[in-house]
Symmetry: C2
DNA sequence: TGTTAGCACTCTCCATCGATGAGTGCTAAC
DNA sequence: GTTAGCACTCATCGATGGAGAGTGCTAACA
């Protein structure tokens, strides 16, 4: 049996109606709502075929039909009109992205919020994978007696500042000397690459500032170590799930929310299989808790180097055309903002 | 009618049993479970009295009794054994608080998480109210061509760094000169106090670095302006509410979660009426959405200056003794950590 | 006077039952 | 290939009617 034009038309009608109403739809309703030019009986026959093909299914005998995962997949791949994001949403995204935003962490939180508000679904944003952080440059600035501000510039351009103890009062010259040695010996190294010989050299050149060096190295280890923080996943609009009729059952909500608390699983889900846009439908999800959900995700770049991903999670019955348009536009906008920001 | 010892004993039994089981309790059960030395009929009479006094109520005719808000209040004020935090929890808190934590924001997130995990309820943490931020000191450090790192030390000791454009390449001496002028003119001032005359002086002394000054002032305005971010409320364990039998009704969950999204209301709820520990029970809440909830909150200090608050939100039926002990210990620990951290 | 036993009464909870209605699959006619 | 007709299925909803828990009241008892 083959798909023909009429079958496609009927399948499209079923998917669109179910996306809108969340109710199984019957042959009579299709004939009435979408004027097919044929009677309900004919549609009934076609629907039997569509069921044989695996594109639709009945929740129970003599209910209407709903799309199966395969049906959604066919819809997304072959039937859906690729939608241009509606101008209002586009404007919102662009307006929001021009706001002054300082911290990467804030950009992520902001993106996440926007995404969930526009889709009324749950958004997932994975911060840029930083790769191995390598030491770029270090400065010391005076702070309180016995403490200094240590400013670290990593090679990828990220700047961090921390306060460390130096024990005794050191002069500006002494501090500069210490920083100079660090800058000379460690530039371009990740903390793992700093061999004992290098440490040895540092200590021997700066034998008198032992406490300062110890504290600085401690801090560097913490900073340059694969910093989980920026790789953490950010969730937005988890509560939107409560508005979806498929989650009117509390136990379903709970299992879903339990997953939300496990960062590792989420990271795996969102980590892109390939660059660009991905659509994962229902049972295609590796995570069994998401077998009733679909995920639209896309990657973004910064300087072509760091790679992160944003995604939207919703029930399998979601407005694919719209969500895809939003996610697509959002990643483009995000790439642009981040590139501008750290030019 | 007066409360006597037996009435108190019965009320305590009702509250404790209801806290544990979430089921209305009847006279027969009380007589059986807690050996009162009297028959159920006697307890029945006493319960009728307690109901007249307003301490207990029936959800419906011929169900058992449950404590009223007034009943909980009486329990908390007069009946409850003040509980010492159990050693395991105490150890957890102390172990966690010794972890290296750099950012204030992280301390807050961490506290919130810990609090919700220990209580199985929802935690609220209000970051320190920073008051007006005033300018302390500024430094410039080299970054990329055309950009520099601006390090701001506020008078309260907070250090921030930001990257700003300087247009042309400036020498280290020029940068130091600019910073010197800022440090001399603006020390101790909040951005609102910087009068036009001061700006005028800065511009006239540094007529050539116009772009740098403009950008620096822009950034200072953003940084010193009442930074909402650090005053934002942090929620933890919102999902714990789903495990409470009183929220098995989805619509209740939704109204509650809606409030969670309004930071302003939450801030108001948590902003302490007085220093130290506060218990707000059910209908005592000003927020009508929280009329079925109780809040245990407490304030914490940093250097006796900044004041924030932590709180735990749960159903009216909560284990007051335990939660109070946890919140109390937690604020003490928090005060200690923060004081040590920014000594 | 306080305590207890007994009893009728109330009200929720739960399972059962039947009517309703939406929708299907099949057959036969067009 | 399309359509009308019809029997059949199954979820939903409201009504019904025990079962069980708990109360309030009365009367007896110490």
């Amino acid at each position: 049996m083959q798909m023909d034009e009429r079958k496609r038309k009927i399948l499209r009608a079923i998917v669109q109606d179910y996306i809108a109403t969340a109710e199984p739809i019957g042959s009579r309703t299709i004939a009435r709502k979408f004027d097919m030019g044929v009677s309900s009986a004919t549609i009934r026959n076609e629907m039997a075929d569509l069921e044989d093909l695996g594109f639709i299914e009945q929740p129970y005998t003599s209910a209407g039909r709903i799309p199966s995962d395969a049906g959604y997949r066919y819809f997304v791949d072959c039937l859906m009109d690729p939608q241009v994001l509606n101008p209002e949403d586009m404007e919102i995204i662009e307006r929001e992205s021009t706001k002054r935003i300082n911290e990467l962490q804030e950009v992520i939180a902001h993106t996440s919020k926007l995404l969930s508000e526009l889709t009324n679904l749950t958004s997932l944003v994975l911060g840029p994978h930083k790769g191995k952080s390598t030491f770029g440059k270090m400065h010391f600035l005076p702070y309180q007696p016995g403490q200094v501000i240590m400013v670290i510039v990593k090679e990828n351009g990220v700047v961090e500042n921390h306060i460390i103890d130096v024990g005794e009062n050191l002069t500006a010259e002494e501090l500069q000397q210490v920083a100079g040695v660090f800058n000379q010996k460690m530039r371009g190294y990740s903390i793992g690459q700093v061999k004992r010989s290098i440490l040895h050299e540092i200590y021997s050149e700066l034998s008198r500032q032992r406490l300062l060096i110890d504290n600085a190295l401690d801090m560097l280890r913490a900073i340059l170590d694969d910093n989980e923080d920026e790789e953490r996943i950010h969730l937005g609009g988890t509560l939107n799930m409560l508005n979806q009729p498929e989650f009117k059952d509390l136990s379903k909500v709970k299992t879903l929310f339990k997953v939300f608390e496990e960062n590792e699983s989420l990271k795996k889900v969102l980590t892109p299989r390939q660059e660009g846009l991905n659509v994962t439908i229902g049972g295609e999800n590796t995570l069994k808790e998401f077998r009733d959900c679909s995920i639209i995700s896309a990657t973004y770049k910064v300087n072509g180097l760091m790679i992160g991903a944003v995604g939207v999670l919703g029930p399998t019955r979601m407005d694919y055309a719209k969500v895809i348009a939003i996610v697509d536009f959002m990643t483009r906008s995000l790439t642009e903002v981040l590139t501008k920001h750290r030019r």
